[in-house]
């Protein structure tokens, strides 16, 4: 296994610092928006964490999806590590999205949840699947059969994404109107874009640090388990 232990603390430290700086800049430096066209103009500052959380959780879900495929196709141990890390990171950052989104929605549009919002619905669904996987990994005995079932559920979660997108689009056609999150990409100030970019980079660095951290935890657990087995064998001789 690759040794990532040296990267863990530096990546996490840099990530945390960057994320905090983003929050500070977002609150105190980023420009205000026009209070005539926004119902809750200060609430827009949530964007500096909400959007990076969404991008990072997307990465995490992608790792979960790819890991499920690798496990399913080849029973690859590395695939399984990707499933465990992807589900944990997906849960962590996905929770961030489904907490910040509705709070912002309630402030700006008076509506915490829009069944017609494809992104919010799919993030909620994937976060629910990630929560299921994380809880199951902690409660079920590890083994090939458990991994098969959980990888299947991981894949199931992904096939639900287009199903959810279809269902949400149909719903939105019937109930047009409220959209929780406007597309952030149109007509943005350069300063807003800068802080958003900093937030994205910081969270990605933090994400990389947390992935390395979890990878090292996995390696350490394996090493300890192997050593304990060796000690068990020697004590029986």
């Amino acid at each position: 296994m690759r040794d990532v232990s040296h990267a863990v603390v530096p990546l996490i430290t840099v990530g945390i610092i960057g994320t905090i700086v983003t929050a500070i800049l977002g609150f105190f430096w980023a420009p205000a928006v026009d209070s005539n066209s926004w119902n809750a103009p200060e609430a827009y500052r949530i964007i500096y964490w909400h959007v990076p959380f969404a991008w990072v959780s997307f990465l995490a879900f992608a790792i979960l999806f790819l890991g499920s495929i690798f496990w399913y196709a080849k029973r690859s141990d590395f695939g399984w590590v990707m499933v465990t890390i992807g589900s944990e990171m997906g849960l962590l950052f996905g929770l961030g999205v489904v907490i910040s989104g509705p709070i912002w929605g309630a402030a700006e549009w008076g509506v915490p949840w829009d069944w017609g919002d494809v992104r919010l619905n799919t993030y909620a669904l994937l976060t629910a699947v990630a929560l299921f996987l994380v809880m199951s990994m902690r409660s079920q005995p590890d083994g090939e059969e458990t991994r098969d079932t959980l990888a299947a559920i991981g894949l199931f979660g992904f096939i639900l994404v287009p199903i959810t997108a279809m269902a949400t689009t149909i719903w939105r056609n019937r109930h047009p109107g409220v959209i929780i999150i406007e597309t952030e990409e149109t007509g943005m100030d350069s300063e807003i874009r800068l802080v958003l970019f900093l937030g994205a980079i910081s969270l990605m660095v933090l994400f990389a640090g947390l992935v390395s951290l979890n990878y090292e935890l996995h390696s350490l657990r394996k090493q300890i388990s192997d050593k304990e087995s060796k000690i068990d064998e020697e004590s029986m001789q």
Binding site: P141, E144, E145, A152, I153, L155, F156
Partner: protein, 469 residues
């Protein structure tokens, strides 16, 4: 003279938990042969039996059975899976559900093997094992020893009643048996061998392994074969019976209905929260003039109890977990087991009547013309709830694959079924506001119900196909 092989495992590698139990192991059982598998506890005896039965996923290798002149791949490491030909199977746990009666259980074991016999012959078989006097009793009332005798008989009877050589798989058959029953077991094994049937027995009982023609010893993940002592004499066993067309899925469906009728824990378990929901909704909206409100609210309240009925955990999950009953059915039915469970165990009878009761209670303030129109057409969205129920059951069954499934929060995966429910609420709301129409635009009730059914069907398909791959 070389006897033809009934079944063989070729270069199989199996992992259980974190351990490699078998590595590139090969074994076969031929017609008329008694093969005993011996080894220490945890060495893999049960794993070998279950591998032959096609229950366990393989890391490597394949399991093939011969049926007539045809070779069937029952399982391989590429994900291929087919149900084995008719066989006898007794697992280490009895694999019998407490809600069945003794005679029913034996009938089921025979019918899945394509054997149709009269009650008299069922009694004859039960009497041979000293449990004829308990034939109409529920299995849950039997002592451990009697239940074990029944489980063994269910494993041996498909071969006893068959003229065609069959494979019998027995996992620790003498465990839980008294001395006289063990003698009967040995005599039946010898008799079946004499009739050309093959028997594979995992055992640590030397009395039983002494009757084997060949011994397979499992040690350090590999198999070593040696000649057995072939001790023991056959005893008289009942003659074979007539065969009929075999349909394990139909047998599973019948079994599922019978056990539910005898102990309607599924129906009661689902209906209770639904009735509570109806009463709560009625109590909480008592003063609200629903007629002047958006009909979406009324539609949601009316369909919510039916939704609750549909998504509640099915009783079949615990029935299948009872002494590995599910493993037995899994082996017999093969890859069609999962879709069959999901449809059989879904709440098919409750959603429609529950929705009607819900409407009648909630709609007291609605004008009679609207009410009549809804009563005429409420069955349309309620019917689509059945698809939702089937999808939900498939999800519960997918989660039930986990060894500690009660510790896994299945409800998290059910979140996706909110969308079909929302569509059905839309459909009912349209019927309340405008009456029923038969247009095919996206706002009309019939396409809306079809969309809900389609979403449910896609969820069902995903939940039954992926785990079987």
């Amino acid at each position: 003279m070389a006897q033809s092989i009934l079944a063989q495992v070729s270069d199989i590698s199996v992992q259980r938990g974190v351990n490699n139990v078998l590595e590139r192991a090969s074994a076969s059982v031929s017609q008329g042969e008694i093969v005993a598998v011996i080894g220490e506890n945890g060495s893999g005896k049960s794993t070998l039996i279950e591998s032959f039965a096609g229950i366990i996923p393989l890391r490597e290798g394949k399991v093939e059975w011969t049926h007539g002149s045809e070779k069937i791949v029952v399982r391989d490491s590429e994900g291929r899976r087919n149900p084995p030909p008719p066989m006898g199977l007794t697992l280490q746990n009895n694999a019998i559900c407490g809600d069945e009666t003794v005679s029913e259980r034996l009938s089921v074991a025979l019918s899945v093997s394509g054997i149709a016999i009269e009650n008299q012959r069922i009694s004859e078989l039960l009497n041979c094992w000293g449990i004829g006097h308990r034939s109409s009793e529920r299995i849950s009332n039997l002592s451990g020893g009697l239940a074990r005798r029944l489980a063994i008989l269910c494993g041996l009877a498909p071969a006893v009643m068959s003229e065609i050589p069959r494979l019998v798989l027995l996992d620790e058959p003498s465990e839980g048996l008294d001395e006289s029953s063990t003698k009967i077991l040995k005599g039946w094994i010898k008799a079946l061998s004499g009739r050309g049937h093959g028997i594979l027995i995992a055992t640590h009982d030397q009395e039983i392994s002494s009757c084997a023609d060949r011994i397979i010893t499992i040690a350090k993940n590999s198999l070593q074969t040696s000649t057995g002592t072939s001790n023991g004499d056959p005893i008289d066993i009942p003659s074979s019976g007539s065969t009929s067309r075999r349909n394990p899925v139909a047998s599973l469906v019948r079994w599922s209905f019978k056990t539910e009728i005898r102990n309607p824990v599924d129906s009661v378990g689902r209906a209770t929260p639904a009735i509570v929901a109806i009463l709560l909704s009625y109590a909480l909206v008592g003063n609200i003039d629903l007629e002047s409100h958006d009909s979406n609210l009324l539609a949601a309240l009316v369909l919510a109890p039916g939704f609750i009925v549909s998504v509640s955990s099915p009783a079949i999950v615990s029935r299948l977990e009872e002494s590995d009953s599910g493993l037995w059915w899994n082996a017999i039915v093969g890859p069609m087991a999962r879709p069959a469970y999901s449809i059989t165990a879904a709440s098919i009878f409750l959603p429609i009547p529950v929705s009607y009761v819900s409407w009648m209670i909630m709609s007291t303030a609605i004008d009679s013309e609207t009410s009549m129109e809804v009563l005429k057409w409420l069955w349309v969205p309620s019917l689509a709830l059945l698809d939702l129920a089937i999808a939900s059951t498939a999800l519960h069954i997918m989660v039930a694959d986990l060894s500690r499934s009660s510790a896994a929060p299945a409800s998290l995966l059910l979140v996706v079924l909110v969308w079909p429910f929302l569509e059905l609420t839309e459909a009912l709301s349209f019927i309340i506001d405008n009456g029923m129409t038969f247009g095919m635009s996206i706002d009309d009730p019939i396409p809306t119900c079809l969309i809900a059914s389609l979403i449910s069907a896609l969820v069902w398909l995903t939940a039954v196909i992926i785990p079987e791959y």
